[in-house]
Every structure is written in structure tokens, then in C-alpha cells.
Symmetry: C2
Subunit: 498 residues, 2 copies
């Protein structure tokens, strides 16, 4: 029996009742996508509950991804009910935000290795679709450039990278809202190296890093290796919650912030332009460097790519990192960093680490950017990724238990799936492994106790095998509704995730 | 007037007198190369001085590289008077051996940058002679392998490196006394990356590393970056002084030892086989990992290359590092590490750092090792380096002040020059810079107060320009005998040494 009393238990039930009522009105169409739900004051009056209770209810509905708060405006019905809400801001705002020393559990490490096992149906990693890479053209250019620059391709490379390549990258930076010169750029062996250089340039062991959560696991590994502490900033379909970030950097000494603002891995989210500007400004106020990983930025489904946060950087505080691993050739290991005011430090670290990035692959990519039709190539693969991501998304909706939500990215090929609450995605991962299918369970994207009902899907590939695998996955999830699935024996194969 | 008294000042003069007398007898041929000089007891009786005085005299002659002690046998005239003695062991044995936190001075950093300025006559760096690299053949193989393995060359590379390459390296390991399998090897982006991975796998910030001194400056930079302390172990033409090392590791907690046992950079020294065995055994007793940089090992002038210290490793404690940067293609950035019992850790670090080394260059080098005539190529470049090193050596002897000593390496292309005591090689470096000539002054090879009269020469190249540069250098050194040279203004060009 329900009570109307002010004690804890009664309030708990009361707020659930309010949430259920408003949730029901959304479901039956009384409040529709994009519309405003009653204000806290109005609802508190209407339903004769305290303002606190209404706030709790709305937080609950936010968690469920049904409504969203808009600053100075109120709460609105989310336009795409099937999308996950990400980590709700309200739950963590002023309580859990304390830096954690990073210790990645053995289980998480094992997961990262397992899901990269090439014998699995590859839904767990972040690797691109190799069929979409311009294999022959690039390899031809590798040959022609090695002939053309025969000695330069063999001798020690320039530490900062070949100017030909840096110039091409600088020219293309206009597309992401920047106006770089070749001197601003340092070529790296992929984007992961770029991010590592950035972290090493701005942090010392023991420092704290703020980072959008769920977190790309490779970042967690770098952060752990460097002996840093981490503040996970809740994120949703529009990127990091800036209110939480603001709170976090005012209450902690934060040495750097890391973001994947464009087509986030794993959320698929795109941070709106205004929010990017706000993010850069917020950090600049406290002179906190922002490390941006923009490796998916060129894979926007729309006609043009979104700007990078670097586009709004007036103080040289953004260290922009990217690569050609998702668009041209992961095997070439060519990435770059635009380190802003940290250029000298990053340049020194690059030399110290491995002197320079190999020449032949740099020269081949420079030639592809110059004469290879990179824009045409991008348009082609963007279309394919848009189509395939939609296909995988629809297939998940078709086969998975009712209430499952899937992100709807506007670029890249990563999907984030939220099973209904109570589901254990780790058990699904284990059951999938036994069926020869790799997925990335949500728990590897955090150091905390989050995302247990979530997992990441790689939608880069589409085939009958993939469709079948998704059907099997869906079936396994349906089964989990009936009875819990036992853990399989430890898998010992060692591979690594991207 | 001299005194025969036992007081300090008298004894000092007395020991100099004895040293001068024996030194004179060596110079005038009374004692010839390889012959034994009188025992301490005999000389003390003959010259009516204390045994201590004779010991001091002999230490002085050792410092000058004129005689050398052989255990349980006595003192012998050095066979190659023109060679430097390296750091005399006696001076440091039990006094200076305490770990130093590493802080490379701005001056040293500036020197490292300056001497890599490509507009200088390149006598300062460690880069190989590009005319000796198989440019066309390698670039051809780069093309053919990219065609043959088209997709493999574009897709993410295997983290440990391509098996084709690892198998070739494993087969060749017989030449350096090892019997490796492809599984023992991890491909890296050059040897510098391999050494960094090794250091990171076995040390934590604050740990102490023992290293042969003079020290290859790139190691000092890595060690500083990792926040390690360093113990410089005096070395001579036969490598590190093991007595000092033994003392050092018994009196300090040492986490790793680093050696370039074959054709040391900068000493050019070759550690004898027995000494390698002793070094490995000495460290194994205390379970101290040995990091071996063998990047010059394949450049032995003799018909076969010397063994690596890894050949004597029975406990998996040697982390062997090398690359093809001195023999095939520095621009390809392909090296490797054999991490022994630290393999899992090193493999994880490599993935974390930059995922893997680029594929096309790995595949090209694998093909060169398989079908490119690597042994024939090595024989050819060994002959050239042997000839050129001798030429540069003779030219130094010809143009430099009397008493200048030059190392006589048996492999590689690095020479170590010792000007007569009192000369300031840093001033010579500065004067040389103004003449457009790069040399590496001894002071950048130590954190201590050593090698002030020494410098490193790169003998990889030979041309009229080089000969002229050496004549100018010799002239500058001769001038320095007359009057001190003023420091030039700060040079601001930024380049990096190897």
C-alpha cells in the first residue's frame, strides 16, 4: 500500500508513481517528442507532492532517456525514445565526482583481448571495414612515392613528419573549422600515439584527467600506465555534461580533459557546435588543456563534417589528435597531432619515443590526399557506413527484447546498445563468446559500477553472417529474461581491442 | 726543487716523476706494446719510493692510456697508444658511485639539437651513410610486397609484428649466438622505441639504472623522461668496468642495466665474449634485467659479427633491442625487441603506445632479409665503414695536436677522440659550429663532470668536404693551445641527435 507521508520509503514510492504517470503520458502520446512537460513547480502543485519528489521523478525519466533538461527552459520529451540516455547527470553531479586512481581489472583486460580475436564475428572492436579502404590505389601510391622520393623514403625522416603530408593536412583543416599551417602539425604513428604524446606533454604521474564517460578503453589503459587519476564525466547523445565538468574542475585540480566530440566511441554522440565552444571556453578559464580525439570526424553521414573543438581554440590549449586509420589505412600507422602551445614538448617526446614516423607510408598518404580523390572516397564510405549503421540498428531493434535502446549516430560506425534495466550485458558478452561472437560489454568503458546493461557494437560490416550473429545475440538476450546464464570458463586467447 | 719527503705535496710530485720516467721509457721504446712494465714491488725498490707512489704513477699512466692492468698478472704497455683510456676505473670505484637523478642541462639539449642540423658537415650525429643503403632494391621490395600482401599491408598490423619478418630475424639470431623463435620477438618502430619499451617494462619512476659511461645521450633523455636515476659505470675499450658495476649493484638497488656491448656509441668499444658472459652472470645473481642495444652489431669489420649478451642469457633477463636503421633504412623505422621473461609486459606497452608498427616497411624488410642478399650487403658496407673509419682516424691523427687519441673500433662508424688533458672540447664544438661543422662534445655523454677534453666523430662519410672539415677542426684545436676561444652567440636552430 502506498503512503503519502514524507518519510524516505514513502517518498521513494511516491516519486516512482509520479514518474510512472508522466512516463505513461509520454508513451500514450499525451506529451510528444520535443514537447515540454510540466515545470517542477506546476507538477508539484498539480500532484500535491514536494518539488524534491518531482525532481527525483524527472531524474528517473531522464535516466530512462524519456525526457531531457534544457538549461533555463525546463524538461522536454526526448525526440528519439529508442536512444540510450547515457549516464544521467543528476545522479552524479555533486556526489561521485572525485578522482579515481586507475586500475583496470583483469576481467576488463581479458575482455579487451578477447573481443579482438579475429576468429569471432567482429562486433566488439572498433576496426573499420577493410573492404571500404582504397587498398590498391594506396599501395600503388606507396610504390610511386617510394620511387619518386627514393632516398628521402629510406633516410631518417624529418622528426615532425614530411612537410608534403603536413601541408595536405593543414589544407584539409579548413573542413573542421581550423586554419592550420604545416608547422602546427606533428606526424605520429597513429592517433593512439598522438593522444599518448598529448597526455605525456600536459600531465605528470598522480595528476587528474577529466574524460567523457563511457570511456574509450584504450584511454583508460594509457591513463593507468601514466599513473593518472580519472574523473568520469557523464555523457549523453550530445557529449559530456558540461555542468558536471564545471563542477568537477572547480572542485578538483584537473590537468587535462579528453574528449571524442565527433561520433564518440562508444556513444556515437556528436557534440553540438555551441557546446564545443562552451567546452573550450570552460576549460580555458582555468587553463586546462583539452585533448581531442577526432578519428571519426571525417566519417560524418551528412554532406560536410562537423567542426572540431580545435576550431574554437583561441588559446592554444586544445591538443587535436587524429589519424587515417579509420578512413584510409590502419596498417600504415599514420596519424597527427596539433599540439597548440605544447608543440615544443610534444615534438621532443616524439623524438624521444621513436625518433619519427616511417617515411614511405607518410609519403603515400600525402599523395592520396593530393591526387587520390580523398573527398570522393570519403563521400563513398560515409554513405556505406550510414546505410550499414542503420541496418545494424534496425536489426538490433528487431531481434532484441522490447525496451532495448540503440544510439543513432550521425557519423562513424559505432553503436551503443542499452538493454532494459536489470539485464547483465557482461553475461551476454560471455554467452556471445561461446557462440563465436564478439561484443564489448559496457563495464569495460568505466572504472565505476556503470553501463552493466550496455554494450558496444561495431556496425562497420554488414553481411548475412553479421545478421545471423545479431539474431543469435538477440535470442541470447531474450533467454536471459527467463533464467540467468552461467559464466563460461576463462578464455585465454590474447588479442587487443581498438 | 723536488723533495723526497713523505708529505702530500712531495709525494704528488714524486709520483709524477715516476710516471714521467716510465712513460718516457714506453715512448722511447724501452718498453714496447704488449710488454710488461715492472711490478709495483720491484719499481718501488728500484726507485726508492713507496708502493703507494708507484700505484699512483701507474694509475696516471692508465689514465693516459699508456698501460693497462691485467688481473693477477701486472701492468702491460697498451698496444695502441693512440687510443683513449676511457674513464679510469680507479678514480671512481668506491667514491662517486651513487645514483644521480637525471636532469639534462639546457646546454646539452641545445647541443643535441644543433649537431643534427643538416646544413652542418655531419660529424656530430650517429646517422649512417645513406649512399651505402640499398635504396632502390628496398623501395622495389616495398612495392612488390605491398602488391603481394595488398590487404594485409593496409589492415591493422599484428601487434607483435608480421610473422614473416619475425621469422627472418629469428633465423639470423644464430649469427649473434642466439637461437630465437619468431614468438620471442616483438617488432618496434626502431631501436629507440625498443629500448624505451624495455625501460618501461622493468623500471618505475624513481628507480635506478646502471649504464656504461660515456652514455649515448638518447638514453639519458629516456631515463630523464621516465624519472629514473642513473649510475654511470666507467667504460673503456672493452666496455663497462665490471668491478665497478659489481660494487654499484651491491651498494644500490638497481632496476636495470643498459649496455651497448658491440661497437659502443660513443666509445666504439667491443666487449669481449668472456666479459659479456660475466656481465650477464653478475646481473643474473641479483635478478637485474640487462637492456642491450645492439644496433651496430651487424657492422663488425671482421668476417663475422660478435655475439650479443643475449647469447649468454639463461634466465630471460636480457632485453635485446636492435633495428635496421644503421644497415638498411632508418626511414622505415623498423626495429625489434627480444624481451625474454618481460614479453607480455612489453607486448602490452607496445599496443598501448601506438598499437603496432606499420606493415609495408616490415614486409619490405622481411623480403630483403629473405631474398635481398642481406649478408652480401653487410659484407660490402662493413668493408666501406672499416676503410672510412681508418681514414677519418688517420686524418685526425694528422691534423690534431700531438697527444690526441682516437678510438680504433672493430665495427660501426663512431669514433671517440680524446684531446690532450686541459683541452676544452666544448669550446672546440662551439668554434666548429661557427665554421659549419658539427661534432658532439664529450660533456653531453655524461651527467657528471667528465669527458671535457673528448668528442664524438661520425666516420660514416668520407669526402673532400669531410677531410677539409677535419683539417679545420684540427686547426681550431691547435689554436686553442695558444689562446682560449670565446663562446659564440646562442644558436637557435632546433634539430635532434641520434
Amino acid at each position: 500500500m502506498k503512503t503519502n507521508g514524507q518519510n524516505g520509503a514513502g517518498e521513494l514510492l511516491r516519486y516512482e508513481e509520479v514518474a510512472a504517470k508522466i512516463g505513461g503520458m509520454i508513451k500514450n502520446g499525451t506529451y510528444r517528442a520535443g514537447e515540454r512537460v510540466p515545470s517542477i513547480r506546476a507538477l508539484s502543485r498539480q500532484m500535491r507532492v514536494s518539488a524534491n519528489t518531482v525532481m527525483e521523478s524527472y531524474a528517473r525519466l531522464e535516466n530512462l532517456g524519456m525526457i531531457e533538461a534544457r538549461p533555463q527552459s525546463g524538461y522536454y520529451v526526448c525526440s528519439r525514445l529508442a536512444e540510450p540516455a547515457g549516464l544521467p547527470a543528476s545522479r552524479e553531479r555533486e556526489t561521485d565526482i572525485a578522482p579515481n586512481p586507475v586500475t583496470i581489472g583483469d576481467v576488463a583486460l581479458e575482455v579487451m583481448r578477447n573481443i579482438a580475436n579475429p576468429s569471432l564475428v567482429p562486433l566488439g572492436g572498433g576496426i573499420p571495414n577493410c573492404d571500404l579502404l582504397p587498398v590498391d590505389k594506396l599501395n600503388r601510391m606507396l610504390s610511386s612515392e617510394a620511387r619518386r622520393f627514393s632516398l628521402q623514403s629510406i633516410a631518417y625522416p624529418p622528426h615532425q613528419g614530411h612537410k608534403l603530408l603536413r601541408t595536405q593536412i593543414a589544407r584539409r583543416s579548413l573542413d573542421s573549422g581550423c586554419t592550420l599551417s604545416s608547422e602546427d602539425i606533428i606526424i605520429t604513428s597513429g592517433c593512439v600515439e598522438a593522444v599518448n604524446l598529448a597526455l605525456q606533454a600536459v600531465c605528470r604521474p598522480g595528476d587528474t584527467v577529466a574524460i567523457g564517460s563511457p570511456v574509450y578503453p584504450t584511454f583508460l589503459k594509457s591513463i593507468q600506465w601514466m599513473g593518472l587519476k580519472v574523473l568520469e564525466i557523464p555523457s549523453n547523445g550530445k557529449g559530456m555534461n558540461l555542468e558536471v565538468l564545471d563542477y568537477a574542475i572547480r572542485h578538483n585540480r584537473v590537468s587535462a580533459c579528453i574528449t571524442i566530440a565527433n561520433f564518440n566511441n562508444p556513444l556515437g554522440s556528436l557534440m553540438p557546435e555551441d557546446k564545443k565552444r562552451d567546452l573550450v571556453a570552460l576549460l580555458a578559464k582555468q587553463e586546462i588543456p583539452l585533448i581531442e580525439d577526432d578519428v571519426y570526424g571525417d566519417l560524418a553521414y551528412g554532406p560536410s563534417r562537423p567542426p572540431s573543438t580545435k576550431a574554437f581554440d583561441e588559446n592554444g590549449l586544445v591538443l587535436y589528435c587524429s589519424s587515417f586509420s579509420k578512413t584510409l589505412a590502419p596498417g600504415y600507422r599514420v596519424g597527427w597531432i596539433v599540439p597548440g602551445r605544447f608543440k615544443e614538448k610534444v615534438a621532443q617526446l616524439k623524438v624521444l619515443l621513436n625518433i619519427a614516423t616511417a617515411s614511405p607510408t607518410q609519403l603515400a598518404i600525402a599523395e592520396f590526399l593530393t591526387n587520390g580523390g580523398y573527398d570522393y572516397h570519403l563521400r563513398k564510405i560515409r554513405r556505406v557506413y550510414a546505410r550499414q549503421t542503420a541496418l545494424v540498428r534496425d536489426t538490433v531493434v528487431r531481434f532484441f527484447p522490447a525496451g532495448t535502446r540503440v544510439s543513432r549516430p550521425e557519423g562513424g560506425y559505432i553503436l551503443w546498445v542499452e538493454l532494459p534495466e536489470g539485464f547483465d550485458a557482461f553475461k551476454l558478452y560471455e554467452a556471445a563468446l561461446r557462440e563465436g561472437i564478439g561484443i564489448a560489454p559496457g563495464t569495460i568503458f568505466t572504472l565505476g559500477d556503470r553501463y552493466k546493461n550496455c554494450f558496444r557494437l561495431n556496425a562497420a560490416l554488414w553481411s548475412e553472417r553479421i545478421e545471423q550473429a545479431l539474431e543469435i545475440l538477440g535470442g541470447l538476450a531474450e533467454e536471459m529474461k527467463q533464467y540467468p546464464i552461467e559464466r563460461p570458463e576463462k578464455t585465454l586467447v590474447s588479442y587487443v581491442t581498438y
